[in-house]
């Protein structure tokens, strides 16, 4: 549970995401999706209830959990006045990445920014900066991905890359994706959870789910 003043932003949410599973959380603005994700990312402390991420109980083992979490929002969370390489070098040091130069080269290559590695991020388009954010996300090989509207501002190449990454999650890592895009949620996740006013109002498996049909259900649920 987490509240802001009188209002409960997240209330009695009970969820579990297994290894190799991708969960999408959808809901209207103010549903509590981002607050939930920020609690999982150790950025907010729950007021009540129990929270465990990658086998670490929060907030007591937050330090250990942070090394296993990859967090990406609609902001790339990189310094605009540093170059792409300098940003990744910083995060490689913060996460204790071994052989950082080789790893940085790999992830920059993956996101198609190797040729722009030594340019300041300020010179990048938003889509390119967001792809750099994706490189930052993958840099330390996290086991839990927490993604808050990560497709926002991504160019087509970046969106395809992110969807590929989410595809790779199946079977290897766990991911929680917060999004407004119901169709994309159904396409990339194993399960979709609908939140409204801080509570879970629906949770369905996506296998065999028709996106158009689910959108109609979603709209009825959040109306």
């Amino acid at each position: 549970m987490k509240g802001y003043g009188e209002r409960r932003a997240v209330d009695r949410v009970d969820l579990s995401v297994g290894e190799g599973e991708a969960l999408a959380v959808v809901g209207p603005n103010g549903a509590g999706k981002s607050t939930l994700l920020r609690m999982l990312a150790t950025l907010l402390r729950p007021e009540a209830g129990e929270l465990e991420v990658a086998g670490c109980r929060l907030p007591d083992e937050a330090g250990r959990a942070r090394g296993l979490i990859g967090y990406l929002t609609h902001d790339p969370l990189v310094y605009l006045d540093l170059t792409a390489w300098q940003n990744l070098e910083l995060f490689a040091d913060l996460y204790g990445v071994r052989e950082p130069s080789a790893r940085i080269e790999d992830v920059l290559d993956d996101v198609g920014l190797l040729s722009r590695a030594f340019e300041p991020v300020r010179a990048f388009s938003h889509g390119m900066a967001q792809r750099l954010g994706l490189a930052r996300l993958m840099l330390h090989r996290p086991v839990v991905l927490l993604l808050d509207e990560p497709h926002s501002g991504l160019d087509a190449q970046g969106a395809a890359l992110l969807d590929r990454l989410l595809g790779e999650v199946r079977g290897t890592r766990a991911a929680v994706l917060v999004t407004h895009d119901v169709e994309r949620a159904v396409a990339v996740a194993d399960r979709v959870m609908v939140m409204r006013l801080g509570r879970v109002v629906e949770s369905v498996e996506t296998a065999g789910l028709d996106p158009a049909e689910f959108r109609a259900t979603y709209e009825a649920l959040v109306a």
């Binding site: 990312a41 150790t42 950025l43 907010l44 402390r45 907030p59 330090g63 250990r64 942070r66 090394g67 979490i69 967090y71 929002t73 902001d75 969370l77 990189v78 310094y79 605009l80 006045d81 540093l82 300098q86 070098e89 910083l90 995060f91 040091d93 913060l94 996460y95 204790g96 990445v97 071994r98 300041p120 930052r136 330390h140 090989r141």
Partner: protein, 229 residues
């Protein structure tokens, strides 16, 4: 992969240095402010007082205290304006490492200012020998800077999450700086001009060390909670 605090600290300090070298907007602003303040003090006192040596410590440290407010206020500007703070907070960095890195950055800014302002003090306000004692002056500056850096990093981090941070920062920071200003001004006066009281200088410097240790302990005890929620 096990992150090492020293590697993290080096990376964070290097990052602040790179950002400052690229933008040059904090140190330049601080230097301009400090030099202008010294010049204004010179105009304000110069014609009426023939010997300002006994005020030199006070003038220097009032100037540096207000200059520090500028540096402390700008210490999280990049994280705030470029929305990177969450990226740092989700990384497995002990919160104390974040504080120490910011304190080192603030100390760096202050040293850059003092390299210009301390000689200016000798030119404007000190009658009698000055250059032979400049090493003592820089030493007391360095010790005081550590205290300012720790307190500044703590207060800047506290103010970071408030809406009225521009107001809150000087209101919290300057009163807590009063003991440091008194001791640092005392240390300066003890070695400025013809005065050469090294016993008094040592006592003031010990006070400055105590001040830094005290706020280091306060930061150690509270800093985890500052970034928590």
């Amino acid at each position: 992969m096990k992150p090492r605090p020293l590697r993290q600290l080096r990376a964070l300090v290097l990052k602040d240095l790179r950002l400052e070298l690229r933008t040059r907007d904090t140190v330049i602003a601080m230097i301009l402010f400090a030099v202008l303040a010294m010049v204004l003090f010179q105009f304000g006192f110069g014609t009426r007082q023939s010997d300002l040596t006994k005020f030199a410590g006070g003038l220097l440290w009032v100037t540096l205290a207000f200059t520090a407010v500028l540096g402390v206020g700008r210490s999280y500007v990049a994280e705030r304006e470029q929305r990177v703070l969450d990226g740092l907070l989700v990384a497995p960095v002990p919160r104390m490492v974040l504080l120490v890195a910011k304190a080192i950055a603030i100390v760096g800014y202050l040293i850059a200012v003092e390299i210009l302002v301390v000689p200016l003090l000798g030119v404007f306000f000190i009658n009698g020998p000055f250059w032979s004692d400049i090493g003592w002056l820089f030493l007391s500056c360095l010790i005081a800077d550590v205290g300012i850096g720790i307190l500044g990093a703590l207060i800047a981090s506290l103010a970071l999450f408030t809406r009225a941070r521009e107001l809150l920062l000087p209101v919290l920071f300057l009163p807590l700086l009063v003991p440091l200003v008194i001791a640092a001004a005392g240390a300066t006066n003890a070695v400025a001009g013809s005065a050469h009281d090294l016993v008094q200088y040592r006592n003031y410097c010990l006070f400055l060390v105590g001040y830094a240790v005290l706020f280091g302990l306060v930061a150690y005890a509270t800093f985890e909670a500052v970034f928590d929620d």
